[in-house]
């Protein structure tokens, strides 16, 4: 049976943990979006070494499990003198990891812009940079919004792995309650509901942004 008194007691604890998860996701998203965008700006220059770097980054980071990246950053990098606390390590890893996905989302949206629009701009005298900022970007970013919202939910779910390196977000909090109080149903129920609520929130936010940016 569900112990509702226990649920009520746990609620503030989980609320706090949800905020930590949200902070982690926000930091990871911000970094990931910036990185993904920068990678595409690089790729758009058409310079071969930069295109190769783009390819290496997106394939490497999408091809290796998130947990492995997290271990390398948190346990591996200190051996070369780079030390991060659990939040920094998790946020950094999330940013670089999700950046590879965002880069591919942006790339797909960029390549969907009809060639004729770019030709019209170029033969009217707009420079490559102006085509990028005034013609391609606004459209590509708009088209990427639904995909970004979807990816944000995946980022949020990956953030659960930060519990492995002891960042006290939702999953670690639930594990702690289980270990200390030997109850399972209530903390895991709250855990699932918390993630679900966050996902709904992200969806709502995405929908709101999409409507604001609609043509």
């Amino acid at each position: 049976m569900i112990d509702f008194t226990l649920l009520a007691e746990l609620l503030p604890v989980f609320g706090q943990a949800a905020l930590r998860t949200a902070a982690l996701v926000a930091a990871g998203m911000a970094g990931g979006l910036l990185l993904g965008f920068a990678m595409n700006a690089m790729r758009e220059t058409g310079l071969r070494p930069l295109a190769a770097l783009y390819w290496a980054y997106t394939t490497l980071w999408r091809g290796v499990p998130f947990l492995v990246h997290l271990f390398i950053v948190y346990f591996g990098l200190p051996s070369v003198g780079l030390r991060f606390d659990p939040f920094q390590a998790a946020a950094l890893t999330l940013a670089v990891y999700s950046g590879a996905y965002f880069a591919e989302i942006f790339r797909a949206c960029w390549q969907r812009i009809p060639r004729g629009q770019v030709e019209a701009a170029r033969c009217m005298g707009l420079t490559r940079r102006q085509v990028f900022t005034h013609i391609a970007c606004p459209q590509a970013l708009r088209a990427s919004l639904p995909l970004i919202a979807n990816q944000a939910i995946l980022v949020m779910k990956e953030s659960a792995l930060a519990s492995v390196i002891t960042y006290p977000e939702l999953t670690m909090t639930a594990g702690k309650v289980v270990a200390e109080q030997f109850v399972y149903v209530e903390p895991y129920l709250l855990l699932a509901l918390s993630y679900w609520a966050l996902a709904v929130l992200i969806n709502r936010l995405g929908g709101w942004l999409r409507r604001r940016a609609a043509l």
Binding site: G116, Q117, C123, M124, G125, T127, I135
Partner: protein
Amino acid sequence: MALDSSPTPPPAGVLPMISMRGVGKSFGAHRVLQGIDLDVHAGEVVSLIGPSGSGKTTLLRCMNFLEAYDEGEVWIRGALLGYRRTPSGALAPETDRGIAEVRAPVAMVFQQFNLWPHMTVLANVTAPLTLAKGMRPDRARAVAAEALARVGMAAKADAMPGELSGGQQQRVGIARALAIHPEVMLLDEPTSALDPELVDEVLEVIKSLSRDGMTMVMVTHEMSFAAEVSDRVVFMEQGRIVAADTPGRIIRHPEHPRLQAFLRPWFRRSLQGGAQAGAQA
């Protein structure tokens, strides 16, 4: 690349607006253009006709280097387009900036309009002015409003392109080209993507431009229209210019057998339709 031969500038005196000398272009092993010689003079309206795949559009696109030609030379107002002379006398690809400078007097209207869908009609017309020409925004808006009025689209300045009919979009496309005050306009099948009932409103606009003395080169399948507005009609087949002459000799009374074969379906249709101006004129 047969660019090592020293380019001969067009003769002095009145420079042609556009001058093509021995222009060729290949896509891989496929030669889409060869040995093109063509001069377009100020105030002239030149129509390019011919079967699909004959190289009309490629020829037009070479005139503003949207397509890089790989043989011969294209001159705009006496300036070589797309290539520049190196100190050793050879030709090398021109920089983006250099290309933009040479083609600045050339504007283009596209079959698919190619408006920017995230901008209002007005912004579509002002963007090239503010971004490429460095015009102040208020001045650009005035110039754009004038161009939109010219094509009868002033009332739709705040609409988004997606809200317009094809004919209206193409008129905005023409306004966008007009606003940069070009010396020559290239029109690539400007009515081919339109529903039949929307063709006339666009042709009317083009006709009025020709009355105002605008220099135009146009790829078209509208034979009656070409016969009506053109000073010269160029018939192309398999990447070559087969015949270039007055609309009377090319369209109304074609002598070349290939030209007759190409125009036969149109003659038949216009006889049935009866009211085709070009066929009867």
